[in-house]
């Protein structure tokens, strides 16, 4: 692998979450603790008869020791009054422990940690190199959340432990003796539960957890002036570093994507009960990828996830939040980190890990357990374009250089084909290689001339 000392242009992948065509997303963050044990996780349940299924979610977890702040953003796009969220929580959360955050922080953190495309230009092979650096800003996406509440408890064994309104959400914290009772309560109160909800709720109840139930308060929502629901944030203490995915799978319709942004002081965060795999990165790709980096990234992620049988957690980014190189977006400011839930003061030591999970009920039967390692090595899903020198070059080195470039093109095509599963011939076609970078007649395979095919033009 050659060195790339002079990044000339950087382009972040627009979050592929944006494409999520689905409506009801699911989102979970979770924590079971030793003493006041337990978890956050939820499934979205529509009131009335809206169709239910999940697509993609984003979670920010800021954690230091047992202290944890979770922010959850969903891409719910339906009617606000149809929206409801049920999340198991470790303890009765007081009003002050719940906050309605700003969607923009998700956009910022997504942009900052996005997979990126870096472009480098070859120097004149007949002259020494000169470095040049520039970075482009990023784009991102996401969507929202909401709530509602109600009474009639005792008969179903459900106790409403607390009730309050935060932002556009009406929130109730429930405890229950039995999951059947909880299910009855939720149905009585107009929540439409997916099949199997009771069985999925039961283990959390037996672990002594409470349930956080939220709906949109339409009056407050109208007053907020925002069309999209804002992220919910929770602050609590728990030993358990985990994301329960199980509840969320109830209204799943095919594989779901979850992006976890883990903020910590020690180092990289990884799964302890699933493999954590780095996505292939820092490879050279053909120049045309620049026009459609998002398609490339999507195809690449699809293929890698399939290769792992949807049983792995992928690392997309690990970096000290103080800087980046090359930057897909400016580093997060201390104020932004605070918004994202960072509660410690020396924010400059914060490490951001971006994990991307694609899961199904079959491949992720157990909640996702996490651990913060002491690994502070940086990693990013960066892909590289190298533009050849096209100016005049008249020296002995030029011929060797051209030869190198041709070999490079071939390598880039094969890499792209391997990463995405795109057909090699199509990739080569799209590269539109022209002289002097097209393959020399004598370097072409012997069979090419057999049928007078050309591979350098469409």
């Amino acid at each position: 692998m050659e060195a790339f000392p002079c990044p000339a242009r950087v382009r972040p992948a627009r979050s592929h979450l944006a494409r999520a065509s689905g409506v009801l997303g699911i989102l979970c963050g979770a924590w079971l603790a030793a003493a006041p044990a337990h978890a956050f996780c939820g499934f979205y349940v529509g009131k009335a008869d809206a169709s239910l299924f999940n697509s993609a979610s984003q979670v920010i977890i800021a954690r230091d020791g047992p202290r944890t702040v979770i922010s959850m953003l969903n891409d719910y796009q339906g009617e606000p009054r149809e929206f409801a969220l049920v999340v198991p929580v470790p303890q009765v959360l007081q009003r002050g422990q719940v906050n309605v955050g700003d969607r923009r922080i998700f956009e910022r953190i997504d942009a900052y940690s996005s997979p990126r495309l870096a472009e480098y230009r070859d120097d004149n092979p007949c002259e020494p190199r000169i470095a040049l650096q520039r970075a482009l800003p990023a784009a991102a996406a996401g969507r929202a959340t909401t709530a509602e509440t109600d009474t009639r408890a005792r008969a179903t064994g459900v106790t409403v432990e607390a009730r309050y309104t935060v932002g556009e959400y009406d929130i109730a914290i429930l405890s229950a003796r039995e999951s059947d009772g909880l299910e009855v309560w939720l149905r009585d109160n107009g929540y439409r539960l997916p099949a199997g909800a009771s069985a999925a709720l039961a283990p959390y109840l037996k672990l002594g957890m409470k349930f956080f139930v939220a709906r949109v308060n339409l009056a407050e929502h109208a007053r907020s002036g925002s069309a999209l629901l804002r992220p919910l944030q929770f602050a609590f203490e728990s030993e358990k570093h985990m994301l329960p995915l199980r509840l969320g799978m109830l209204n799943a319709n095919g594989p779901q994507d979850l992006i976890v942004y883990a903020l910590g002081r020690q180092g990289r965060v990884e799964a302890t009960n699933y493999r954590t795999v780095r996505l292939p990165a820092n490879v050279e790709l053909p120049g045309f990828v620049k026009q459609d980096f998002a398609s490339f990234y999507r195809a690449m992620f699809d293929r890698q996830a399939q290769r792992e049988g949807l049983r792995a957690v992928f690392t997309e980014y690990v970096w000290d939040t103080g800087w980046c190189d090359p930057c897909a977006a400016d580093p997060l400011t201390p104020a932004e980190l605070r918004q994202a839930g960072v509660f410690w003061s020396d924010t400059q030591r914060t490490v951001l890990t971006r994990l991307h999970v694609r899961y199904t009920p079959q491949t992720f039967p157990e909640d996702l357990m996490l651990q913060e390692t002491r690994d502070r090595a940086n990693f990013q899903t960066r892909y590289v374009l190298r533009q050849p020198w096209t100016g005049p070059a008249e020296c002995d080195a030029a011929a060797a250089y051209l030869d190198q470039v041709r070999q490079r093109h071939d390598r880039q095509a094969r890499t792209l084909s391997d990463l995405t599963g795109w057909e090699l011939a199509r990739v080569l076609d799209r590269m539109e290689l022209k002289p002097p970078f097209a393959p020399q007649p004598d370097s072409a395979p012997w069979w090419r001339s057999l049928w007078q095919q050309s591979w350098s033009t469409r």
């Binding site: 039961a202 570093h241 039967p365």
Partner: protein
């Protein structure tokens, strides 16, 4: 140094025994030779197929440090016959378990782990001493909780039936060779029983249990760590009890206290219990070769 005065006594006892042991060793290969072959295979599979993030330099440094430390201690205590097989086993164990973002962590842990066999020892009958901790276990616990820039990745194996089957099969062979098949299997029985009971009590689907069990790290632990005959009780009944206590502690640590590395922590914390169990349940001492009895164990 605790080991120093003991060494002199040991040397005398060794001289007679070592010759016999060496001859017998020719007939049946040392269980550690098989163990080395299997651990080496796992490391290779891990690096090639499971993208373990261990650098060749780290592996090389682990071996170099472990072997050097072993040789130095053997020289210092005049225990040359004890050999270096166990240091190789420990090196593989550390390479499989420990991850670090620098090159020095692995050799440091290897040196500490090997030295612990000569320093952290206990009396084991007249004129004999045994080490208290399985050296790879000690190294992994230090990596997981103490050493800066080091960590342990329990999820690195993933859940693959094929890998699991291989580890069970190969582990069984090694355990049988080491005459300690019982503890690995008994431990698994305890651990699976406890997890199964927990899953039933919580009403978790069977898939959760299957996922927790079908785990390369658990099987490696059962067949290559807790089964280390040098650091497990002698009497069969004591081994059954010990396996049960370790399994219970591991489950409590991991699934009730919600802390990571339950297996490693439980074995480490309960290793001192072996001395008590040996006192309560006397049994034949273990040696890698029959002729080694009376020699200071080198593992």
């Amino acid at each position: 140094m605790v080991a120093q005065p003991v060494a002199a006594v040991l040397v005398d006892a060794m001289n007679a025994a070592a010759a016999v042991g060496a001859v017998r060793a020719m007939k049946a290969p040392d269980a550690r030779v098989l163990q080395i072959a299997f651990l080496g295979t796992f490391l290779l599979i891990g690096v090639l197929a499971r993208d373990f993030t261990v650098a060749p330099l780290q592996v090389a440094a682990t071996f170099a440090a472990a072997l050097a430390t072993q040789v130095l201690w053997l020289r210092a205590l005049s225990l040359r016959q004890a050999g270096v097989l166990s240091a190789i086993v420990t090196s593989f164990g550390l390479s499989l378990l420990v991850r670090a973002d620098s090159w020095w962590v692995h050799p440091l842990l290897a040196s500490i782990a090997i030295s612990s066999k000569f320093v952290l020892t206990r009396a084991d009958g007249p004129g004999r001493r045994r080490h208290v901790f399985n050296p790879a276990n000690l190294g992994a616990v230090l990596a997981a909780f103490v050493v800066p820039g080091a960590w342990v990745s329990p999820g690195q194996w993933g859940q693959h039936v094929l890998v699991a089957a291989w580890i069970v099969a190969l582990g069984s062979v090694v355990c049988r060779r080491a005459a300690r098949l019982d503890i690995g299997l008994v431990f698994l029985a305890w651990y699976l029983g406890l997890l199964g009971a927990r899953a039933l009590a919580l009403g978790q689907p069977a898939a959760v249990f299957a996922h927790q069990v079908n785990n390369g790290a658990l099987l490696l632990f059962a067949f290559f760590m807790i089964s280390d005959p040098m650091t497990t009780p002698r009497a069969p009944l004591a081994r059954v009890l010990y396996a049960g206590v370790v399994a219970l502690a591991a489950v409590l640590w991991q699934f009730t206290a919600y802390r990571p590395h339950g297996l490693l922590v439980a074995l480490f914390a309960l290793s001192p219990l072996v001395a008590l169990l040996d006192r309560a349940f006397p049994g034949p001492a273990f040696a890698w070769h029959p002729g080694e009895l009376g020699r200071m164990p080198a593992r």
